[in-house]
C-alpha cells in the first residue's frame, strides 16, 4: 500500500443554479490576460448541450484520454499520442481544437457610446475581437448553449445522447418534457492524468503533497500535446506567451488555507473540497480495468482515513498529521465513500478524475405518465389539460425513477460509464433523504414509509441527517476542509533550501516565464 493524499472535490449538481459566478471569479483572478481571454479554467455547461469547447466529450473528434491497448491485456495507452503516433506527427498535432471550437473572445467598444457625437441614431458599441482587435460578428461564446438555447444545434448534438434511441432522444426535447441541469467543470486533477503522460517536454506534473496537476511555465515548449490529450479539454494554449495553461486549483490560496476562488464564490454552495487518501500502487490496475468495473475500481483506490493500517502507511509515506486529520474530516470522503453519493465525470476516459459529482435529482423529479381518467390527482400535481401528466409530488416518486422525464441512460453516460443501476442507486439515495426530510418537516409522509425508503436505499436515519446537514446547512469550514500546507517540507524533498537562506519566501520566485519559441 502506497498511500498518497489528494485534495479533491465534490460538486453537488442539484444545488447549482447556473449563475457562472465561479467562472467569473476564476476569470478575474487567473485568465484576464492577453492570450488567455478565451480560456475558462472553470466553466458551467448546460446539459444536455455540447459544452465548451464544442463537443469536448466526443473523443472521435479530439482524441483525448486513454484507451485500452489493442491486444494488450490490462494495458492502456493514450488515444492521441504515443511513441509511433508521436513520431508520425512530430511537429504536427492534428486533433487540436481550433479557436472557433472554443470561441473567439470579444469585447465591446464601450467608448463609442460616450464619445459619439450628437446624431439621429443611438450610438452602439460594436463588438471587437480580443485576438485581432478588429470588429467582428460574435459567433459563439463559452456558454452559448446556456439554458438549452439553440437546442437544435447544441443540445441535440450532445455526445452523451449517442446510446439513446431516436425515440428517447425525441422525447427529451419535447417542449413539455424538456429538462436540463448545469454542469460546472474545472480541471479534475486526475490520478492518471493524460496531459502529464502526453507532454514531450515533461513540463506537467502532479504535485506530490496535494495532487494538484500543474504546468511548469518555464519548461513548457508549446507542443500542445496536453491540449489534445486532456479528454476534458481543460488544458489551454496561451497564444501570447506560447505556453499551455490550466486550472491550478488556486494552489496559492489552498496553501494559505483559503478555498479556491470558484468554490469560495459559489452562490449555491455546491462545492466541497477535502483530502482523499488513495493507494498509488493500484492506479495503473484501476485505470486499465474493464469498462463495467471502472467506476468501482476507482472508488476502491480511495482509502479509509480512519483505518489504522492506512494511517500507519500514510505516516510511513511522510503524510503530515494535519493532512490525515483533514482527510478524516473530509466532506469529499463522506460524499464519495461513506454515503456513496458522488461519481466521477466520464470515468470511461480512464484518467481517474478526482472531481466527483453528486448527480442531479431535479431533472428526474417530475415524473411523466399517461393520465388515467377520473383518477384523483395529488394536490400539487400539475394537470396540463392533455394526455400527459407531470407529477411533481413525492407521492409516486419512488416507483417513478424509471419513468423520469430525463432518461437515466443519459445521466449514466455522463457519470457512470453507462451503468444505469449505479446511477439509479445514487438517485434513490438522494430521493430517500428528501422523503425522510419531508416526513420530518412537512409530515405528510409517514415515519414507516420514510424508514422503509431509507432502508431500501441503504441509508440509516443518522446518515440521512448527516447528508441533509452537509448538503443544506453546511458552513464554510464544513464544506472546505483544507489541510495546512507543508510546502516547506515538500520543497525540501527536492531542493536544498539552505541555498536560498535569507532571501524572500522560500526563494523560489522565478522570473516571469518567457516565450519559449
Amino acid at each position: 500500500m502506497n498511500v498518497r493524499s489528494q485534495v479533491s472535490m465534490v460538486f453537488h449538481l442539484d444545488k447549482c443554479i447556473g449563475c457562472h459566478t465561479c467562472s467569473i471569479a476564476c476569470k478575474n483572478i487567473w485568465t484576464d490576460r492577453k492570450g488567455a481571454e478565451y480560456m475558462w479554467w472553470n466553466n458551467v455547461e448546460t446539459k444536455p448541450g455540447t459544452g465548451y469547447p464544442t463537443k469536448w466529450e466526443d473523443q472521435s473528434i479530439y482524441k483525448g484520454g486513454w484507451q485500452k491497448t489493442e491486444g494488450g491485456e490490462n494495458e492502456i495507452s493514450l488515444r492521441g499520442a504515443g511513441k509511433r503516433k508521436g513520431l508520425l506527427n512530430i511537429f504536427h498535432n492534428p486533433n487540436m481544437p481550433v479557436i472557433d471550437d472554443y470561441y473567439e473572445p470579444f469585447t465591446y467598444k464601450y467608448l463609442d457610446l460616450i464619445e459619439s457625437p450628437s446624431m439621429d441614431d443611438q450610438p452602439t458599441a460594436r463588438p471587437v475581437s480580443l485576438i485581432t482587435g478588429r470588429p467582428i460578428d460574435i459567433k459563439m461564446g463559452p456558454n452559448w448553449d446556456d439554458d438549452l438555447s439553440g437546442t437544435q444545434d447544441f443540445a441535440r448534438k450532445d455526445p452523451n445522447l449517442e446510446n439513446l434511441s431516436p425515440a428517447e432522444q425525441e422525447a427529451m426535447f419535447q417542449l413539455e418534457r424538456m429538462a436540463f441541469f448545469y454542469l460546472p467543470r474545472i480541471c479534475n486533477h486526475c490520478l492518471n492524468p493524460a496531459c502529464v503522460a502526453s507532454c514531450p517536454s515533461g513540463a506537467i506534473y502532479k504535485r506530490g503533497e496535494d495532487g494538484v496537476v500543474l504546468i511548469n511555465q518555464n519548461v513548457c515548449r508549446a507542443w500542445r500535446m496536453c491540449v489534445t490529450a486532456c479528454p476534458y479539454k481543460k488544458s489551454y494554449y496561451n497564444w501570447n506567451t506560447g505556453k499551455s495553461e490550466k486550472c491550478i486549483l488556486c494552489y496559492p490560496r489552498i496553501e494559505a488555507g483559503y478555498a479556491p476562488a470558484c468554490m469560495h464564490s459559489c452562490v449555491g454552495r455546491i462545492r466541497y473540497l477535502g483530502v482523499l487518501l488513495y493507494d498509488a500502487d493500484r492506479i495503473e490496475q484501476a485505470a486499465a480495468s474493464d469498462d463495467s468495473e471502472l467506476v468501482q475500481k476507482q472508488l476502491d483506490l480511495l482509502l479509509d482515513p480512519c483505518d489504522p493500517a492506512v494511517i500507519a502507511a500514510a505516516k510511513e509515506n511522510g503524510i503530515a498529521d494535519s493532512t490525515l486529520h483533514a482527510a478524516q474530516n473530509s466532506p469529499v470522503y463522506k460524499f464519495v465513500k461513506e454515503w456513496k453519493l458522488a461519481l466521477p465525470l466520464h470515468p470511461e476516459f480512464r484518467t481517474l478524475p478526482m472531481l466527483f459529482y453528486v448527480p442531479p435529482l431535479l431533472p428526474v423529479m417530475a415524473t411523466i405518465r399517461e393520465k388515467i381518467k377520473d383518477q384523483k390527482l395529488h394536490d400539487i400535481a400539475k394537470d396540463w389539460e392533455d394526455t400527459w401528466l407531470y407529477d411533481t409530488s413525492t407521492q409516486e416518486l419512488w416507483g417513478a425513477i424509471d419513468q423520469a422525464r430525463f432518461p437515466l441512460k443519459y445521466m449514466a453516460n455522463l457519470f457512470s460509464n453507462g451503468d444505469q443501476n449505479l446511477m439509479k442507486e445514487k438517485l434513490l439515495k438522494l430521493m430517500a433523504v428528501r422523503i425522510y426530510r419531508r416526513h420530518k418537516t412537512v409530515g405528510d409522509v409517514t415515519e414507516e414509509k420514510s424508514n422503509q425508503v431509507l432502508k431500501e436505499a441503504g441509508l440509516t436515519p443518522k446518515m440521512a441527517e448527516a447528508i441533509y446537514a452537509l448538503t443544506s446547512l453546511a458552513k464554510f469550514d464544513d464544506r472546505f476542509v483544507i489541510p495546512a500546507a507543508h510546502r516547506e517540507q515538500a520543497i525540501e524533498m527536492m531542493e536544498f533550501t539552505g541555498d536560498v537562506k535569507g532571501s524572500t519566501g522560500f526563494g523560489f520566485k522565478d522570473q516571469t516565464a518567457k516565450r519559449g519559441l
Binding site: 469547447p53 464544442t54 473528434i61 504536427h92 487540436m96 481550433v98 472557433d100 470588429p135 460578428d137
Partner: protein, 278 residues
C-alpha cells in the same frame, strides 16, 4: 713600423674575413631552427642563402637590417610566406649568421664545388612512397587517424581537391598544389616548424612526428600529381530536376500528413449560416 701597421691592418681585415665564415654561421644555425626553411643552395620555404647573399651584396647596411629581420621576423621581401621572429636569439649570434651568409657572395664558386659533394639530408623521395603511406597520409589529413600528439587534423582548416577527401576547411590555403609550390622539403619544413602564426599556435604543444609528416607529404604529393584528373562530377540538368522532384515528393508528403488535420471548427455549419454584418 709602416710594415707592422700594414700587417696588423691586413690581419685585422683577414680576421674579419675569418670571422665572417659560413661554416661557423652554419653551426650556429643548426642549433636554431633556420635550416628547416632555408638551405645553402635551394629554395625550401624561405630563399636559399646564396640568393640572399646575392640580393644584399651591394647594400651597405644589409648586415644590421637582416639581423633585425631574423630576430623580429619579416614578410614581403621574398613572397607572401613570412619569416617567423626569433626573439630568443641573441644579436651577436644572429649577426654572425647573417655575415656568414653574406660572405657567400664572395666565395660562391668555392661553395658550388663543395655543394655537389653534400648529400641531400632527409629529402622526400616520391619514388619510394608506397600506396600505404599515401592512404595513411590521407587518413591523417581527414582526421580519420588522430595525430599522435593530438594536434588538429589538416582538414579543419585546409582543403585538397581529391576524390578521396570530401570537403575541407576554407580557413587556410587550398593545399592541392602545395607540393608544386614548395617542394617536398618545403612542405616537410612547414609541417615540422609551422611559420604561420595560427598554425604555429595550433601545433605548439602538439608537434607532428616525422612519420606523420612523411605520410602527409606523401599524400600531398599524390594529391598534387593527381589533381588535374580529378574534376567535380557534372550532374547537369539532373541536379535541378532531382531538386524539383524532391520538392514535389515532400509537398505531397506534407499534404498527406496535413490532410488529417482538424482544420474547421465543429460548429462550422452553424457559423456558415449566421448573418454577417460585413
Amino acid at each position: 713600423m709602416k710594415i707592422l701597421i700594414s700587417i696588423v691592418t691586413i690581419s685585422f681585415f683577414f680576421g674579419q674575413f675569418v670571422f665572417a665564415d659560413f661554416n661557423q654561421a652554419e653551426s650556429l644555425m643548426k642549433k636554431s631552427d633556420c635550416l628547416a626553411c632555408h638551405s645553402k643552395t635551394q629554395k625550401i620555404v624561405g630563399p636559399s642563402f646564396e640568393e640572399i647573399s646575392k640580393k644584399y651584396k651591394n647594400e651597405k647596411n644589409a648586415s644590421t637590417q637582416l639581423t633585425q629581420s631574423v630576430i623580429k621576423g619579416s614578410q614581403g621581401k621574398w613572397g607572401a610566406i613570412p619569416m617567423p621572429p626569433h626573439p630568443t636569439l641573441n644579436e651577436k649570434d644572429a649577426q654572425t649568421m647573417i655575415e656568414g651568409i653574406l660572405s657567400l657572395a664572395n666565395t660562391e664558386e668555392n661553395s658550388k664545388k663543395k655543394e655537389k659533394n653534400e648529400p641531400e639530408a632527409s629529402t622526400f623521395d616520391p619514388t619510394t612512397v608506397t600506396q600505404v603511406d599515401i592512404e595513411k597520409g590521407q587518413f591523417y589529413f581527414e582526421g580519420r587517424l588522430r595525430f599522435q600528439n593530438r594536434g588538429p587534423s589538416c582538414i579543419a582548416c585546409h582543403h585538397v581537391k581529391n576524390d578521396a577527401v570530401i570537403g575541407g576547411g576554407i580557413l587556410a590555403k587550398d593545399l592541392t598544389s602545395v607540393f608544386s609550390r614548395l617542394g617536398g622539403r618545403g612542405v616537410q619544413a612547414i609541417l615540422g616548424q609551422p611559420p604561420f602564426a595560427v598554425m604555429e599556435q595550433a601545433y605548439l604543444d602538439h608537434p607532428l612526428t616525422p612519420d606523420e609528416i612523411y605520410a602527409l607529404v606523401a599524400f600531398l604529393n599524390d594529391a598534387d600529381q593527381k589533381h588535374l584528373y580529378q574534376t567535380p562530377k557534372d550532374y547537369g540538368a539532373g541536379l535541378v530536376l532531382s531538386g524539383v522532384f524532391g520538392a514535389i515528393v515532400l509537398m505531397v508528403f506534407f499534404l498527406f500528413i496535413g490532410a488529417r488535420r482538424k482544420r474547421f471548427s465543429v460548429n462550422q455549419d452553424i457559423f456558415k449560416r449566421q448573418i454577417k454584418s460585413q
